[in-house]
């Protein structure tokens, strides 16, 4: 080859297009400021390397994103990564061939992946009984107790000493009512706070087979004397006007922020919203418990969502997914996310990093949620894995509404809820049998 040809060849080679960037579709349900957070994470990852491009796509709320993914999957067009809420875990897991476990994705991509670096109660929820992590915890929150410090002061209680047991909560509610509060206590996400997390916090089962981890033939058991006693207490408080029902799902959040309700059990992730919008000084403390129950307090159950990897993609794409998940699990990324959003840090390293930076001294209460989760979990408190969980929660809402309205007794309501819920579990078992 003569010199000219060599130059020509070299120029051609230099002008040849770089290896095509692998695009990774990430479907999520984060709107508002959280959407910014998601976009920021993707952008930072994309900026740091050129091989993969993560494209976050907002797909409505959790239900809508799930429906979109199901439709897309059935048409052969699924995204790579899908954000699914915690109650959809069993659905994702039981779907034959639809997902690829995160642990497999990471090991196939040749990335170091040690489940022990993750906060036990957070990752445990998304881990199979054999220890294989199925999905990556992303935005996890847990049940905490929010209270209005100014209202406490006005009622003659010490704002720095929130009630820690349910009897103390009842007393506080009575004092608040005496000073004219129309709504001393309420709760959001009734099933999550008062039955699911309640069970784990007291180290009792919510459903058999280790809350469903060990098989699709699990059945509900939240109508034990302890559960009946607790709901009976709440019903009594409701009759006295001390506990006021403010609606399903997160409807009660707004009533606390506006100052209408003085105490409520809800998500730790509401912290940011409260700090920003409430006119009063607010505090967070751990979920109340019954001191006479052995083993209480154990740990609480998480809420929020995790990231699942859908099947049917090429190994090259999975490598990109692995790289992105590796990035998301970095301590500094986790720490930043945790401080920005109020969601839990999923690795212990991130928690320690945040602690060392003095974040918790500047923002007292932000570590309450983490502390509730850091304990080693037991078989009864690792989390809940039940099919048709969305329907079961709706059933619990419906039956308990009958209790709050005074239309039915507590034992009757819980028994009916268990019976109807078990029908759902049987149906799920049947549908996912083959």
């Amino acid at each position: 080859m003569n010199f000219k040809a060599l130059i020509a060849a070299a120029v051609l080679a230099a002008a040849a297009p770089a290896q095509a960037q692998v695009e990774i579709q990430w479907w999520h349900a984060m709107g508002g400021a959280l959407g910014e957070w998601v976009n920021g994470l993707a952008k930072d990852f994309n900026d740091q390397q050129k091989d993969y491009k993560v494209v976050p796509v907002f797909k409505g709320n959790y239900d809508e994103a799930m429906t979109a993914a199901v439709a897309a999957y059935r048409a052969g067009n699924a995204p790579h990564i899908l954000q699914v809420f915690e109650v959809g875990t069993a659905t994702m897991m039981a779907s034959k061939g639809a997902i690829v476990p995160v642990a497999k994705v990471m090991s196939d991509a040749g990335l170091k992946f040690d489940p022990k670096t993750y906060v036990p109660a957070v990752s445990g929820y998304y881990t199979a009984p054999n220890g294989q992590m199925l999905s990556l915890p992303f935005n996890s929150s847990t049940t905490v107790f929010h209270y209005n410090k100014d209202a406490f002061k006005a009622a003659g209680m010490d704002p720095e000493k929130p009630p820690t047991t349910w009897p103390e909560v009842a007393l506080a509610a009575a004092k608040l009512k005496a000073t004219g509060h129309k709504c001393p206590l309420t709760t959001s996400w009734v099933s999550w706070t008062q039955l699911e997390s309640f069970s784990a916090w007291h180290n009792v089962e919510f459903a058999t087979k280790r809350n469903g981890f060990n098989g699709l033939d699990a059945r509900l058991v939240f109508n034990t004397p302890l559960h009946v006693r607790h709901i009976e207490n709440l019903a009594n408080l409701s009759r006295q006007g001390l506990f006021v029902y403010k609606g399903r799902a997160g409807a009660a959040d707004a009533t606390f922020v506006s100052g209408e309700c003085a105490m409520y059990t809800g998500s730790s992730a509401a912290y940011g919203n409260i700090k920003r919008n409430a006119k009063f000084a607010s505090g967070i403390s751990a979920l109340p418990y019954y001191p006479d129950v052995p083993g209480a307090p154990q740990n609480t159950v998480i809420g929020g969502a995790s990231l699942w990897v859908m099947s049917g993609k090429t190994p090259g794409e999975y490598k990109g997914v692995g790289a992105f998940f590796d990035y998301l699990s970095r301590a500094d990324v986790q720490a930043k996310s945790h401080q920005m959003t109020g969601y839990l840090p999923i690795t212990l390293a991130a928690f320690e990093m945040t602690e060392k930076s003095g974040f918790y001294t500047k923002n007292p209460g932000a570590d309450v949620a983490v502390n509730q989760m850091i304990r080693k979990t037991t078989d009864k408190s690792r989390g809940i894995r039940l099919g048709n969980f969305v329907q079961i929660r709706a059933i619990i809402d419906e039956e308990l509404e009958g209790v709050w309205a005074g239309k039915q007794g507590v034992k009757e309501a819980l028994d009916t809820a268990v019976r109807r819920g078990n029908e759902q579990l049987e149906r799920f078992e049947k549908a996912n049998r083959s």
């Binding site: 239900d63 149906r427 549908a431």
Partner: protein
């Protein structure tokens, strides 16, 4: 169809050409997906379709042996009847009044039709804002009148809330079509009747209302279909079928099962049943009510 025109055109191939675009779209984008969706009513599947079993009429049997499903038939009947009748009557009244006034007609029409443009996502939020027990603007006002509003626990109030929200949206729709209908009635007819000495009330019932009957029939059918099918978004935003199951209308359960619970087979079975009901209702209307319509 019972009503026929006497005069017709005789071309053989032209009508096919005229209906072709609509039929093509309907076949590809309705019948094909609908068939696929309805077929799921005889299957029991997991969400992603990985494991699928044929279960015959099992899904249907399960529905009919569920007490709360049967109860929601009654809830739906009450709801649909009230929504359709209130929506039509109120809109008719407003349209007749708007047709009367000369000054300000444009303004009134704009203000009355504009709410139809409120996106459903926002409408749901607005109703919650206004009716939130104890802090909503309207519930505040009701309390000052002595009415304790808590639709979270009071089934009747919850029902009232969703009826109000559903009717609100439909008033704009019905008003628009009634007004268009009224304004296409030739003035000469009204004048002739007035010259003959007929009073306004009499004129309305003997001339205007019959001439308006094609529009009224159209709106009756559409409103019933609307009440049965398009109202789940309101229920979802306002009460989620609660308290208990007091506002769980049929379409809400179908939507809930398909979208939130990922029970596509059950949702499809319910859709089949809903379809059958509405088709039956519509056939009844075409057969018996259309007789009284004057074209």
């Amino acid at each position: 169809m019972a009503i026929e025109k006497r005069v017709r055109f005789g071309n053989r191939w032209l009508p096919w050409l005229l209906v072709a675009p609509q039929m093509v779209v309907v076949t590809i984008f309705f019948f094909w997906p609908a068939g696929s969706a309805l077929y799921q009513s005889v299957l029991l599947e997991d969400a992603f379709g990985g494991s699928s079993q044929f279960v015959g009429l099992d899904n249907f049997n399960r529905l009919f042996s569920d007490g709360s499903y049967l109860a929601s038939f009654r809830t739906t009947a009450v709801f649909s009847l009230l929504v359709a009748s209130c929506g039509i009557c109120i809109a008719l009244l407003l349209a007749v009044m708007a047709n009367r006034v000369i000054r300000g007609a444009t303004l009134y029409t704009t203000l009355l039709v504009w709410p139809y443009a409120v996106a459903p996502a926002i409408a749901g939020v607005l109703w919650l804002f206004m009716f939130a027990p104890s802090v909503g603007i309207v519930s505040h006002a009701l309390r000052s009148l002595g009415i304790e509003w808590n639709h979270l626990l009071n089934g009747n109030q919850a029902m009232a809330l969703i009826i109000m929200a559903a009717v609100w949206k439909q008033i704009s729709y019905n008003f628009l079509f009634f007004l268009a209908g009224l304004q296409s009635i030739p003035k000469s007819l009204i004048e002739a009747a007035a010259i003959d000495g007929a009073r306004p009330w009499h004129r309305f019932w003997t001339i205007v209302f019959p001439l308006l009957s094609p529009t009224t029939f159209f709106l009756l059918v559409i409103n019933i279909v609307y009440a049965f099918f398009d109202t789940f978004a309101i229920v979802d935003a306002a009460t989620q079928g609660g308290p208990g199951k007091d506002t769980a209308i049929l379409v809400y359960k179908a939507y809930y099962d398909g979208f939130k619970a990922m029970d596509l087979g059950g949702s499809a079975a319910q859709s089949v049943i809903l379809m059958a009901i509405v088709i039956a209702l519509t056939v009844v209307q075409f057969r018996y009510v259309e007789r009284r319509v004057q074209y």
